[in-house]
Subunit: 206 residues, 2 copies
């Protein structure tokens, strides 16, 4: 599938939540999940990783099945001059492919670091290594980024000429996800670490 890879990876960097669709029994189930994309991952055109508890039924149901991972960033509300031309501005990537349970310890550790660093860039390097128990409790799925489509809508409404001529107002309301001040845990000592501070500042400024 042809897709602008730079635009795809920009969205996968920006967005923080993926919606993973798996077939459980007779019907699809869609669940939110943390994720990370690795353009240089071992799968064709790179790898998208999602993780969860090994106890999660959807992870077992997804393993070796074809799944759909959709990542959407909402960028605005489009107030058209008619109900029909109301819309939303967004970027959405739809990735469809076979879900592979990551069993290689090095790849699994790499994927988990990517997922943490996707939330807070640079953070994984500041943390102790995962324990064997923690690694065993976590399942990581890999989906190839090969079959990926990207849909982007931006700007104002596309209205009927007669509604424009009638002088009805049309436009859009930009939306963005922003961060507030980091909140230290009650037991936390010391200053907010640089990585968390930077993450909050970057998300507060956009």
């Amino acid at each position: 599938m042809v897709v602008d890879r730079a635009e795809l990876h920009a969205l996968l960097d920006d967005a923080l939540v993926a919606h993973v669709g798996v077939t459980l029994g007779e019907h699809p189930v869609v669940l939110p999940a943390a994720f990370a994309a690795d353009p240089d991952g071992p799968d064709e055109d790179g790898t998208l990783y999602v993780h969860g508890s090994v106890a999660a039924g959807w992870l077992r149901g997804a393993t070796d099945a074809t799944v759909c991972v959709t990542v959407t960033q909402l960028d605005g509300l489009v107030a058209g001059r008619s109900a029909f031309h109301h819309s939303m501005n967004y970027r959405s990537a739809v990735v469809i492919g076979p879900a592979r349970l990551v069993e290689d310890p090095a790849e699994k550790q790499h994927a988990l670091r990517l997922i943490v660093d996707h939330m807070v860039p640079g953070r994984s390097a500041t943390l102790r290594p995962d324990t064997r128990k923690e690694l065993a409790a976590t399942a990581v799925l890999a989906v190839p980024l090969h079959e990926a489509s990207l849909k982007v809508r931006g700007g104002g409404p596309v209205d009927e000429p007669e509604d424009v001529a009638a002088g009805v107002w049309g436009g859009h309301v930009p939306l963005r996800l922003v961060a507030g001040e980091p909140v230290a845990d009650v037991d936390a000592t010391g200053a907010v670490p640089d990585d968390v501070r930077r993450r909050a500042d970057v998300l507060a400024a956009r």
Copy 2:
């Protein structure tokens, strides 16, 4: 299924995008969609409506099938004291049920107004009626809100006592979706209407 209905409807009011999972061919497909919930809708425990173009394959694929509609609001990043205890704060509703194509003209019109008013409260009353052509081009699916589950995570990390004792920082970064100033279309005349202004102000203030 037991779920706090007030909390469910508060999330369905807050969130603007649903992710709809349908089975197309052999695998699930997950697509973002505008939606609205009607607690008093005709289905058991109320109705969730999504709409799209009648030309959209996923809407045809969903009709009379069991679908999953998931609505997620991201509320924060949780920076744990270990990679394992990193998480996100979110509220997520998972609704599973048979998708019914809305054919009754009055229900369809009602659902489309709800969807517009979910984006910009009060807006549908200010717009001209939909034309027959517009109504014919739009498909609305109804899913009962009966089988709905809600997952909520809030606050800081739940860390290992030894990591807390070691003095590693832990906390969270609140996230929220905010609106910028409404952007008038190039052809738009007059002031930003009250409904759009209010919507932007409410989303800017939270």
